[in-house]
């Protein structure tokens, strides 16, 4: 399927000056795929998180500084929380991007809403990752 020869020239060149020509990029495809995959991963991560935090061993009442410090001393929980942070943030941001694309009427509104969204996303992801990586159990003592 490499042929691009158009053997129906009399039908070619549809009068469609308004539509931009197709670009060969897969951004939308990967965004769509990412939503599905991250959604599945988040299902496990978030439900697991909720279960551990709210139900297991007395639930939310045992959570204090020491508990958090204990958890984040293990690379496993660091990775879990980091994955949850990144996936949830990017999943949510892409969802909002979709909503903005669908509903913003004016190009300017769309642009600024998206800028706001991207800024917020970068800030939250950066701040969250920073805390998870640099958390030191000594700050409390």
């Amino acid at each position: 399927m490499t042929a691009t020869v158009d053997s129906a020239p009399e039908l070619a060149a549809p009068r469609s000056p308004r539509r931009r020509p197709a670009r060969r990029n897969n951004v939308e495809l990967y965004a769509w795929l990412f939503m599905r995959l991250s959604g599945l991963a988040l299902l496990v991560l978030v439900l697991g998180h909720l279960f551990i935090m709210n139900i297991l061993d007395g639930g939310v009442h045992r959570i204090n500084f020491a508990f958090v410090a204990g958890r984040w001393s293990s690379p496993f929980w660091q990775f879990w929380d980091l994955a949850m942070l990144w996936l949830a943030q990017l999943h949510g941001a892409n969802g909002l991007r979709t909503v903005i694309n669908d509903y913003a009427r004016k190009d300017a509104t769309r642009f600024w809403l998206k800028m706001l969204l991207y800024t917020a996303t970068v800030l939250i992801v950066a701040l969250g990752s920073f805390v998870i990586f640099t958390f030191s159990p000594d700050v409390g003592s």
Partner: protein, 262 residues
């Protein structure tokens, strides 16, 4: 009836109002109207029309146009669900006026029936129920809905197995009525989205074993305004008067893009 000049018989009338047929009930036909020469905003107009249960909404519109108000403007051609020219929003859903029976719109329990008729959404209204279909056809043309081949033409027909033909049978049934595209919430808010009808017609060629333009069409539909914009709400499938599984066709194009398997 609002401020149209009421002289009898009205302009374009086919003569005096015929007697109501036996067994008919009077229904209110509420039509969203817009006359660009007079109105600055669309307005609602109501007509009392005698209707038989076996009448189609198109008959009611004819009655209005022929005997009550000749200025009512709408498209229709075949009146048998073939040409796709009379798509409109009937009681809030996109249908062909020639395929909806009055008996399916009757309110039960002896209550008075009101049938609302509006132009299809998302396309510019020229007058009354007549919309500008050009953006719709522009998206249709953009997916190159014709056979693309390379090499020498065969001396006889291009052979295809029955299984290969069945692969895209559903999407060959499209009559380009625009019921689907103008029922799509994504299309309402973003007219640059190709819309389900264009994707259906791309599907018809992408999955045709005789066609060689699949890659090209897939690239077109991979764009921001392509299949990834679809939110799988099934409005289009519900609206299609030909019973085409529109959303399924869109999902099949998505799958072909994901796995490049046609």
């Amino acid at each position: 009836m609002t401020a149209t000049v009421e002289t009898a018989p009205p302009a374009g009338s086919r003569g005096p109002v015929p007697p109501a047929p036996e067994g008919s009930t009077t229904v209110t036909v509420k039509i969203r109207r817009f006359n660009p020469e007079v109105d600055s905003e669309p307005r609602w107009d109501s007509f009392e029309v005698p209707a038989l249960p076996t009448d189609r909404v198109l008959n009611l519109l004819h009655y209005v146009k022929w005997y009550l108000d000749g200025t009512l403007t709408f498209r229709r051609s075949c009146a048998h669900g073939i040409c796709g020219s009379d798509a409109m929003r009937i009681n809030g859903v996109n249908r062909l006026a020639c395929k909806v029976l009055v008996k399916d719109l009757m309110s039960g329990g002896g209550k008075a029936t009101t049938i609302t008729v509006e132009p299809i959404k998302g396309l510019p209204v020229h007058k009354d129920l007549l919309v500008d279909m050009e953006p719709f056809f522009e998206a249709f043309r953009a997916v190159k809905p014709y056979l693309m081949t390379s090499g020498n033409e065969p001396t006889r027909e291009r052979i295809q197995s029955q299984a290969d033909r069945a692969r895209f049978d559903d999407t060959t049934k499209c009559i380009l009525c625009a019921c689907c595209t103008t029922s799509c919430p994504v299309y309402w808010s973003e007219g640059s989205y190709f819309g389900p009808a264009a994707i259906v017609n791309a599907h018809r060629f992408i999955f045709d074993s005789r066609d060689e333009g699949a890659e090209e069409r897939l690239d077109i539909l991979n764009d921001v305004d392509g299949v990834w914009r679809c939110r799988t709400t099934f409005n289009c499938t519900d609206a299609c008067p030909r019973g085409i599984q529109v959303t399924k066709a869109i999902q099949e194009v998505k799958r072909a893009l994901l796995f490049r398997r046609v």
